[in-house]
C-alpha cells in the first residue's frame, strides 16, 4: 500500500469519525450563530455596538446559568421542569433572608441551599420512587411556585447592597460579572463532562440506563448528583437574577421555564438522553438571545417573540434529525 493511499484512507476515516459527533453539531451551531450575527450586523446599526453586545451577553449568561444544570439532566435522559419555579423561590428566600439579617453571605447561602434542596427532592422522586422525571418535576414546579407566592404574598422585595448587586450588574476588568460566572461554569461543566469518568457515565446512563446499571455504573447516585446540580444552578441563577434587577418577586420564574428548555434543545441535548454539552448549551443561549435581541433592534412586534423562539427550536431539531438520518444511512 502506498503512503498516499494510506494517508487518504486515514483522512477518510477521520471524517467518518467526525460525522455526527459532538464536534460536528457544535460547529453547526456556531455557524448558525455566526449567520445570525452577520445578518444583524448588516441589517441594523446597533447590533455590533459595545452596549448591545454587553447587554446580549448578560442576558445570555443568565439563561446559561439556569440551563447549565438542566443540560446534565437532559444528558441522563431526564427533564427538570422545576428550574424556573426553583429560581423564583430561591430568589425570594435570598431576598427575605437578606432583609431579615442584613447578611449577604447568609442570603446567598440560603439561595444556594434552597436550590440544591429542591433538586434533592426531585432526585429522590426520580431515583427512588422511580417517578417519570416529567411528572415528578411538574409537581415540584407547582409546589415551589406556590411556596414562593405564599411567602411573598403579592409583595416585591427590593433594594440590595452594592456587593450583592455586583453579582448581576457589576463589572470586573471591564467584563460583566455574570459573563465571568458563565465562563467559569462553562469551563467547569466542560471539564466535568469530558474529563471526569462521572461525565462519561452520565452519557451512558442517558443512552441506556439498564445497560449502564448492569455495567456497574451507580445510576441512582449519579441521578441524585445530576438533579441536585440542576437545582443548585437554578438557585444560583436566582441569586444572579435578583442581583441584576435589584428586586425579587414570586412571578419571575414562570416566563423563564420554556425559554430555558428551548436553549438546551437548541444546544443539541436530546429529550431521549445521551446527548448534550456545555458548549452546545452556551451556543443555544447565545442563538436564542441574539434572535430575540435582533427582533428588538429591528423593531419587530414583541408579541411575535415566542413564535420566533419556537421556530428556532424547530430549526435546531430539524437540523438534528436530518444529520441523524444522514448518519443512519451510512
Amino acid at each position: 500500500m502506498s503512503e498516499a493511499t494510506r494517508s487518504g484512507r486515514d483522512w477518510h476515516s477521520a471524517i467518518d469519525k467526525l460525522r455526527g459527533s459532538e464536534i460536528e453539531s457544535i460547529f453547526l451551531r456556531l455557524a448558525v450563530l455566526f449567520v445570525v450575527g452577520l445578518f444583524l450586523t448588516i441589517a441594523t446599526d446597533t447590533f455590533l455596538t459595545q452596549t448591545n453586545l454587553v447587554n446580549l451577553l448578560r442576558q445570555a449568561s443568565l439563561m446559561f446559568l439556569l440551563a447549565a444544570g438542566l443540560t446534565l439532566v437532559l444528558i441522563v435522559g431526564g427533564i427538570d421542569l422545576s428550574v424556573g419555579a426553583n429560581l423564583a423561590l430561591s430568589a425570594c428566600l435570598t431576598a427575605g433572608v437578606y432583609k431579615a439579617t442584613n447578611s449577604v453571605p447568609l442570603a446567598i447561602a440560603t439561595g444556594l441551599a434552597t436550590g440544591a434542596a429542591i433538586g434533592f427532592v426531585n432526585s429522590l422522586l426520580v431515583a427512588f420512587l422511580k417517578l417519570p422525571p416529567f411528572l415528578a418535576t411538574f409537581a415540584t414546579l407547582w409546589v415551589c411556585q406556590g411556596l414562593a407566592f405564599f411567602y411573598m404574598s403579592g409583595s416585591v422585595i427590593y433594594g440590595f447592597p452594592p456587593e450583592m448587586r455586583a453579582l448581576g450588574s457589576g463589572f470586573w476588568l471591564g467584563i460583566p460579572v455574570p459573563v465571568i460566572l458563565m465562563t467559569i461554569i462553562l469551563i467547569f461543566l466542560t471539564v466535568f463532562l469530558r474529563r471526569s469518568t462521572i461525565g462519561h457515565e452520565l452519557y451512558a446512563i442517558g443512552s441506556n440506563a439498564t445497560a449502564a446499571r448492569l455495567s456497574g455504573i451507580p445510576v441512582r447516585r449519579r441521578l441524585i448528583l445530576v438533579y441536585v446540580l440542576s437545582g443548585l444552578t437554578a438557585g444560583f441563577a436566582g441569586i444572579v437574577y435578583l442581583a441584576r434587577v435589584n428586586s425579587a418577586d414570586a412571578g419571575v420564574g414562570e416566563p423563564l421555564l420554556l425559554p430555558v428548555i428551548a436553549v438546551v434543545l437548541i444546544g443539541g441535548a436530546s429529550l431521549y438522553g445521551g446527548r448534550g454539552s456545555a458548549i452546545g448549551t452556551l451556543s443555544g443561549a447565545l442563538i436564542l438571545t441574539a434572535v430575540l435581541n435582533g427582533m428588538n433592534l429591528l423593531a419587530i412586534d414583541s408579541n411575535l417573540q415566542p413564535m420566533a423562539a419556537g421556530l428556532v427550536v424547530l430549526l435546531a431539531l430539524a437540523l438534528e434529525a436530518v444529520s441523524k438520518k444522514h448518519q443512519r444511512k451510512k
Binding site: 461525565g199 462519561h200 457515565e201 445497560a211 448492569l214 455495567s215 456497574g216
Partner: protein, 529 residues
C-alpha cells in the same frame, strides 16, 4: 438431530396433545401442488451492498418452505420484496402463474400474501376481535356502526380454527406473546392469506408454546396454505420444512428437501465452510481450582426456592432449564440486581454483599440475554461501550484520559477481532456477533473473574457463535470461571464441565462427565424420571 418433542417422549405415546394429528397431515415429500408464488431472478442493490442477486423461490400450496441463512444473507430483503416493502431492481414475481407487481404492502395483501414479523404489531388497547378485523370491521348497514357481534363471532371462529379458544373481547395486551402471535396469524387468515411468511416465530416462545405453534402450522399446511418459515433453529427446520432454501451473500446457494440433505450440509451452505460443533474432544485438560462462588439455599422474591450450587476457578458451569425455571433469576441474584431473601452467596470465601457496582468491582461480570436492551448503549461508539464497566478500574482517580481510552479500545478491538474500521463506529451498526464481542470486551477491561453468560449465542450467526464459544474457553483457560445459561442443548453439552438443571426455581439435578447428555438435561428439566 431429532426435535425436542420427540426426544422428550421416546416411546412416542403421550406427546403434547396439539401434536396428535401431526403424522397424519404431513404430506408426501414431493407434492404436485400448484405453485402459488414464484419468484424469478430478483435483484436488489443498496449503496455498496448487493442484497439479492438473481434469487429464485418457488412456493407451493400446502408446503412449508424454510429459508435459512446468516444475518445479512438476504432473507429479510427477500421477504421485503415479496410483501412489497422494497422495490426490486429486476426480476419477476408470479402469483398462480400470472406476473404481478407488488409495490406496496397493500398490493401483497390483496394478492393474499401476509407476513408475521418478530415484532408483533397488535394494538394493545383494542380487543382481540378488533385487532383481527382492524380497518376491515364488519358494518351493520347504519353508517359508521360496527357490527360488534358479527366481528366477535367471526374472530372467535377463525381463532378456534387454528387452535386458540379465548375471550375475543379481551384486550390484546392481556395475551401472552405466543397467543398474540396466533391473533396476528388469524388477522392474516381473515384477509384470505394464502401465503403466510413467519419470521423467526419461535424466538420468544417457550418450548411448549413452540409445539403449539408447530401444530397450528401443520393444520394450515393441511388446508393448503403456503408457508415461508424463517428460523435459525435447525431442529425446527427438521420438524417442519418440506423444502429448504439457503441464502448466502444475497444468492441462493441451496434448495432441497430435508431428506436430501444433512444438517451439516445446511450449515456448510450457510457459512460457506464447515463449522465444528463445540466439543470437549481434543481440548486440553484444564486445572480446576477451588470453588470461587457458592450459593447456599438461596431464595429470592423472583422465584428462586433454595438454590445451592458452586462454581470453581477454571470451570464452565452450565445452567439449563425451561423458560421460567429461574435461570436468569440466578444470574440476577448473583449480580445483585434482585435481593436475596434467604440463604447465602459466597464469593472468594466471603459473603457477597453490596449493590451491583460493588459486585462488578469484586470481579463479577454479566453478559445479559438481551444485549441491545441490557448490554449496550447502541447510540454510543464501540470505544465508549468498551469502557462502561471499567471506569473505576482504568481511571481510578476519575480523570478520563482520551489517549488511554483510545489505546484500550484499539487493544480490545484487535484482541476480540471485532469487525470494524475503527472504534468510533456506533455499536448499533454492528452485527450480533460483534456486539456480543463488545460486551465481552467491556468485562475483560474490568478484569472480571466470573463471567455470567445469559444465552450468549442467541441471535448470532453460526460462524460468530463458534468464536464466542472459543472466547469462553479462553477465559477459563486463564483461570476465570464461566456460568453459562443456555437453551441450546448441544452448546451446553459441548462447552460445560458441569450443568445444573433448574426446574421451578429449584436445582433439579447436576450433571457432569458421561452423565452430561442432551437427553439427561431434558429429562431433569421436564421432570421425566
Amino acid at each position: 438431530m431429532g426435535n425436542l418433542a420427540e426426544r422428550l417422549d421416546p416411546d412416542g405415546g403421550g406427546r403434547v396433545n396439539a401434536d396428535v394429528s401431526l403424522q397424519g397431515v404431513r404430506p408426501a415429500q414431493v407434492s404436485p401442488a400448484p405453485c402459488v408464488l414464484s419468484v424469478k431472478g430478483i435483484c436488489k442493490t443498496y449503496p455498496g451492498v448487493q442484497a439479492l442477486q438473481n434469487v429464485d423461490l418457488d412456493l407451493h400450496a400446502g408446503e412449508v418452505h424454510a429459508i435459512m441463512g446468516e444475518n445479512g444473507a438476504g432473507k429479510s430483503s427477500l421477504i421485503k420484496a415479496i410483501v412489497g416493502a422494497i422495490t426490486c431492481d429486476s426480476g419477476e414475481i408470479r402469483v398462480d402463474g400470472t406476473p404481478v407487481s407488488i409495490n406496496t404492502p397493500a398490493d401483497a395483501q390483496t394478492l393474499g400474501i401476509a407476513a408475521i414479523h418478530q415484532e408483533l404489531s397488535l394494538v394493545p388497547h383494542l380487543s382481540i376481535a378488533q385487532n383481527v378485523f382492524l380497518g376491515r370491521e364488519p358494518m351493520t348497514g347504519v353508517p359508521f356502526m360496527v357490527d360488534h357481534r358479527k366481528m366477535a363471532d367471526d374472530a372467535a371462529a377463525i381463532l378456534h380454527d387454528i387452535g386458540l379458544d379465548c375471550d375475543v373481547g379481551a384486550k390484546a395486551d392481556s395475551l401472552k406473546v405466543a397467543h398474540q402471535q396466533v391473533v396476528e396469524i388469524a388477522k392474516a387468515l381473515s384477509q384470505n392469506a394464502r401465503v403466510l411468511i413467519l419470521d423467526e416465530p419461535t424466538a420468544s416462545l417457550s418450548d411448549r408454546e413452540a409445539d403449539a405453534l408447530f401444530a397450528m402450522i401443520d393444520r394450515l399446511r393441511a388446508k393448503g396454505t403456503a408457508i415461508v418459515y424463517i428460523s435459525h433453529r435447525m431442529n425446527e427446520i427438521g420438524r417442519l420444512a418440506d423444502r429448504i432454501t439457503v441464502l448466502r451473500d444475497g444468492k441462493r446457494v441451496l434448495s432441497a428437501t430435508p431428506s436430501e440433505i444433512s444438517t451439516d450440509e445446511i450449515i456448510v451452505a450457510m457459512v460457506g465452510r464447515p463449522v465444528a460443533q463445540p466439543s470437549k474432544e481434543g481440548r486440553a485438560d484444564r486445572p480446576v481450582g477451588d470453588a470461587v462462588l457458592e450459593l447456599e439455599d438461596v431464595w429470592t422474591g423472583t422465584g428462586l426456592a433454595g438454590i445451592t450450587m458452586s462454581i470453581r476457578a477454571g470451570e464452565i458451569v452450565g445452567l439449563a432449564g425451561l423458560v421460567g425455571s429461574g435461570r436468569t433469576e440466578v444470574a440476577r441474584a448473583i449480580f445483585g440486581v434482585d435481593p436475596v431473601l434467604a440463604g447465602r452467596i459466597d464469593w472468594m470465601g466471603a459473603p457477597l454483599t453490596g449493590d451491583t457496582p460493588e459486585r462488578v468491582k469484586s470481579g463479577i461480570a454479566l453478559v445479559p440475554e438481551d444485549r441491545k436492551e441490557q448490554g449496550l448503549c447502541l447510540e454510543q461508539t464501540i470505544s465508549q461501550n468498551l469502557l462502561h464497566a471499567s471506569f473505576w478500574k482504568v481511571f481510578p482517580k476519575r480523570l478520563f484520559r482520551p489517549s488511554r481510552a483510545r489505546s484500550i479500545s484499539r487493544d480490545s478491538i484487535a484482541k476480540l477481532r471485532v469487525a470494524t474500521p475503527h472504534g468510533e463506529k456506533r455499536v448499533g451498526l454492528l452485527s450480533g456477533g460483534n456486539q456480543q464481542k463488545t460486551v465481552i470486551g467491556k468485562w475483560l477491561n474490568a478484569d472480571a473473574r466470573l463471567f455470567i453468560f445469559d444465552e450468549p449465542t442467541r441471535g448470532i450467526d453460526i460462524g460468530a457463535k463458534a468464536e464466542i464459544v472459543d472466547l469462553m474457553i479462553a477465559l477459563v483457560e486463564r483461570g476465570n470461571s464461566v456460568l453459562m445459561i443456555s437453551s441450546e442443548l448441544p452448546e451446553l453439552v459441548g462447552c460445560c464441565d458441569r450443568v445444573y438443571v433448574l426446574r421451578e426455581g429449584e436445582v433439579a439435578g447436576e450433571l457432569a462427565d458421561a452423565d452430561l447428555t442432551e437427553d439427561a438435561i431434558l429429562r431433569l428439566a421436564m421432570h421425566h424420571d
